[in-house]
Symmetry: C2
Subunit: 244 residues, 2 copies
């Protein structure tokens, strides 16, 4: 844990919070905090700052927090064809750690229908995994998640509302244009589309192209969805930093 | 499996190979091959090409291979402070899939000593994981792996031999210079150093700097070793492609 994340309801108006459970155990047994120590703390979807340890009991740690600014929402959103559950499980924390504003999961021809039955699409399951990623990367901004079983309806009707004004890029292993050359200005948001491991079908690619998605590639090697997403999201962030 | 990988000893002088076990099961139950079908095949550390299915029996598949060129060795080598076993387990296949020529694992102050006791440093354990990554990414080039318990000896005495003539880059979350701007010409090999999750200590950073490693960063977010390695290796490959 590089950041202790608190819900706004856990902190009183003086910045005091009393923790038990997982976070208290981590403070006591891993970080071995003593009264007077300081740790980084943040409020979920809120500001980030420093917390002084006031008291340490066997199962409870009392903190006094002083918050500063609120991190900005990551400028990358991900439109991802739902990967198999084993891969999705690995992805949640890593996407939150890299910084994704909105994870838009969708169907595609080469997504198996039963992938939608996984408990990994349950907010009670993926929520803690997202928080694990934020605790790792010292961010408070919980990625929004939405699940869209109808790809065409998503692209034609919902995307303008979900990611309005974003630069749209679709990853394509056969494309030699780089991610960086598709990101053209300061202050852009990028909506990055990543297909299933077997690729989008021609209809899906055509639909994305007709809705403003430009192709970009990171070479011809077919990658597992999690490897591809991490590489691509990192490349988009790197391209955006050059304009920052 | 996007590629059936064979050991040179499994293929006769006419290109015939008879498979059983895992690869035969995959051909029969997942790809559902029939005689006359073709699949991509390659020889470990050798050429890649196409195999025609000659016979399919219950547990055996007979192939007739025609090989073409041999893939070039990936131009990125990774000097990595040994991560915890859980993270290392996830990394092997992904590094092979992204393309790493040589994985050089080393000690550092913030590497726990017991990490070196893991069976994941046993070639019998990591070998199949590397092959899984090559089968995914359609490559035949098995990453070389070496393990160096003494960081200083590695950097001072061994590195010139292990990675001679490479551009040397060390990832540093506090550095704003991009990976791309550290890769300066066509035909370069890059040796990328990635520290432990707690970072290199000042002595280690100084030793790397005095042996030609230039700092580059992908932003201040602290990432898990596997996420960081995947992002960084992908960025180096992307930077090299611009010069290709």
């Amino acid at each position: 844990l590089n950041l202790i994340l608190l819900d706004a309801s856990e902190v009183d108006s003086d910045g005091r919070a009393s923790l038990d459970g997982r976070r208290a155990r981590h403070l006591v047994t891993v970080l071995r905090v003593k009264p007077g120590d300081t740790v980084r703390a943040g409020i979920l979807d809120g500001p980030i700052g420093v917390a002084r340890v006031d008291q340490v009991n066997t199962a409870t740690v009392c903190l006094r927090c002083a918050f500063e600014g609120t991190p900005s929402r990551p400028a990358v959103d991900l439109l991802l064809a739902l990967p198999r559950p084993k891969v999705l499980r690995r992805l949640w924390a890593q996407l939150a750690a890299l910084g994704v504003g909105h994870v838009i999961l969708t169907n595609a021809e080469r997504v198996e229908r039963n992938y939608f039955d996984t408990h990994l699409l349950d907010p009670g399951v993926y929520g803690p995994l997202l928080i694990e990623g934020l605790e790792q990367a010292r961010d408070t901004r919980v990625p929004r998640v939405s699940i869209h079983r109808r790809f065409r309806v998503l692209v034609e009707d919902d995307l303008d509302r979900l990611a309005s004004g974003s630069r749209r890029i679709v990853a394509d292993p056969s494309e030699s244009t780089s991610i960086a050359s598709r990101v053209r200005g300061p202050g852009e948001r990028v909506l990055l589309a990543v297909g299933p491991e077997g690729g989008w079908n021609p209809f899906e690619l055509e639909l994305l192209a007709s809705h403003g998605f430009e192709r970009a590639g990171i070479g011809p090697r077919p990658l597992r969805s999690d490897t591809a997403c991490i590489a691509l999201v990192a490349l988009v962030h790197d391209a955006l930093r050059r304009w920052a």
